[in-house]
């Protein structure tokens, strides 16, 4: 699905990522690391928001490194950004509809997708006419995930989905991720490692712009470095 080889990129002259080799197949993959490790930069590079300096990014064998964000989205990569990036002055339903309206393989199936998203997040159905900007943080996060799912993604990327949410909503979000992982490839970056290890098959640890560890979810749970630095045990 997604294959990154020898990726090097950054902002201005500042190098953030170096020698990144990374792969997401038909599975759910976690990307962990402390603040400033480069998780969001890696996602930005995959989504075409920053251009790679070196290396390649491929989606199902097609090079997407350096392509425009909208092109990558139309190829089936859906992003749930840390900042949600919703359309605050538009209704919940319009936000969801726009998630699919410009995606070639999803635009003709909007009513069905809408029903599926409403099944996953019933609160969005209740608030379908409400402006997105007037919703609470947790509801906005659900809307951002729902909007991404509207595009029938081949690869769903979630950047810190639990950030700033109360524990009950975090649990709800991860339950949804667990229910999705059989049908969609998922890449999730998280600082809440404990919760995300329950929802992923495999994970990478990114520190100072380099991948320092790669293992299965079970392997990561018992890895001394992960246990000490991320699980706080």
């Amino acid at each position: 699905m997604l294959k990154i080889q020898g990726l090097e990129c950054g902002y201005g002259r500042m190098k953030v990522l170096e020698g990144i080799n990374f792969e997401v197949g038909a599975e759910s993959v976690g990307l962990f690391g402390p603040n400033g490790a480069g998780k969001t930069t890696l996602i930005s590079a995959v989504m075409g928001m920053i251009k790679p300096w070196k290396g390649s990014i491929e989606l199902e064998g097609v090079r997407i490194g350096g392509a425009e964000t909208f092109t990558i989205a139309r190829m089936g990569v859906a992003l749930v950004p840390q900042e949600r990036e919703l359309f605050p002055g538009m209704s919940v339903e319009d936000n969801l509809m726009l998630g699919a309206a410009y995606i070639p393989h999803a635009k003709d199936d909007i009513p069905n997708q809408l029903e599926k998203v409403f099944e996953l997040f019933p609160i969005l159905k209740e608030r379908r006419t409400q402006y997105a900007g007037t919703m609470s943080g947790g509801q906005q996060r659900m809307l951002a995930i729902g909007r991404a799912l509207m595009s029938k993604p081949r690869l769903l990327i979630l950047d810190e989905p639990s950030l700033g949410l109360q524990p009950s909503i975090v649990a709800e979000v991860f339950e949804v991720l667990k229910s999705l992982k059989s049908s969609i490839s998922i890449l999730v970056t998280e600082q809440n490692v404990r919760e995300s290890l329950k929802a992923i098959d495999r994970g990478y640890v990114l520190e100072n712009g380099r991948i320092v560890l790669e293992d299965s979810a079970e392997g990561l749970k018992t890895n001394p470095h992960v246990v000490k630095s991320y699980l706080g045990l």
Partner: protein, 323 residues
């Protein structure tokens, strides 16, 4: 429902209530003003509304560009001036009426707007706002100077019977053709509102205006949308250029005051508030014509928009300080 969510919902209710109250107050003041003017100075109401229509029809496309592309187009009025000259030339050469040339004028101006956007404005979108202002100001100067070179500073006007139609009601006699601007302004406001809220392209444009990064994430080509919206706005102002020619004389500097007035109306209404531009235009049109109705204040009418824009900026600054 948790306490924070309940508090959040209560806040939303309070804001909705405040908006309703404000709308009711504005409506009551508008009705009272209209009644006073009908009884005291009906011509102020008639010509004020006609002027408001013209101002709004020119300002609405600027509001569209500012609300979605987020640039202040200081060459806005000059695009209208170019369309007026193009229409004049075609009407003279082919002997057709400007109303027949209106749609072709709009299409050609829209195409020209798209080309100008792609060649110049698109490249300045990521630059600081000052660069964008300088760029569009430069375009305004270039357009008016090119017209000056080709047509000289002489004024041109078409003589059209229908534009001097008048209506007599009792002792009152007034021109009616300028009400066409009111109709166009309403059509623009309603049409754009429908376009932005009911069509896929319109919703995409609205999404781009609210969050370009979010729009790209859902597969919308942000720069293509910017180009489309800019071309649409220039097309609308181009149609106004053709219509303007039916009533007024044109000269190279005719567009510039419209840029300034449009900007002040858009600023008064608030970014992206198209119906608000209609209201602000009525206020400006009435205020100008009210001053014109007295001999002592006639010459002050042209600076009303300055006073209004200063008042708006001051009140927003004070509100900002308070919050």
């Amino acid at each position: 429902m948790g306490p924070s969510l309940r508090r959040h919902n209560l806040n939303i209710q309070a804001v909705k209530m405040a908006i309703k109250q404000r709308k009711a107050i504005i409506f009551a003041i508008s009705i009272a003003t209209a009644v006073v003017l009908i009884l005291w100075k009906p011509t102020v109401l008639i010509y004020g509304l006609q002027a408001a229509g013209l101002y709004a029809a020119v300002a609405i496309p600027m509001g569209l560009v500012l609300g979605i592309v987020h640039i202040v187009n200081l060459s806005h009025g000059e695009f209208m001036m170019l369309a007026s000259y193009a229409t004049y030339t075609v009407c003279r050469a082919l002997g057709v009426d400007p109303l027949i040339a209106l749609i072709p004028a709009a299409l050609v101006t829209a195409l020209f707007g798209w080309v100008v956007f792609q060649l110049t404005i698109r490249r300045a979108l990521k630059a600081p706002e000052l660069n964008q202002l300088i760029l569009t100001f430069g375009l305004a100067i270039a357009f008016s100077q090119i017209i000056n070179l080709i047509f000289t500073s002489q004024t041109y006007k078409l003589s059209l019977e229908y534009s001097s139609m008048s209506l007599d009601i009792g002792d009152l006699s007034f021109g009616v053709w300028s009400f066409v601007f009111v109709a166009v302004a309403v059509i623009y406001a309603v049409g754009l509102q429908m376009f932005l809220t009911k069509t896929r392209t319109g919703k995409a444009a609205l999404a781009v205006g609210q969050n370009p990064k979010g729009a790209a994430i859902v597969g919308i080509d942000v720069y293509r949308t910017y180009g489309l919206v800019f071309a649409l706005a220039i097309g609308l102002v181009g149609a106004m250029g053709a219509l303007f020619l039916t009533k007024s004389a044109i000269f190279p500097g005719v567009g510039s005051p419209f840029t300034m007035k449009s900007f002040s109306l858009v600023a008064m209404a608030g970014i992206g508030n198209i119906p608000g531009i209609l209201g602000a235009s009525v206020l400006l049109g009435l205020a100008e014509n009210f001053l014109r109705s007295f001999r002592g204040t006639r010459d002050w009418a042209e600076i009303v928009y300055f006073v209004l824009i200063i008042a708006v900026i001051l009140s927003r600054s004070l509100k900002g300080k308070k919050s």
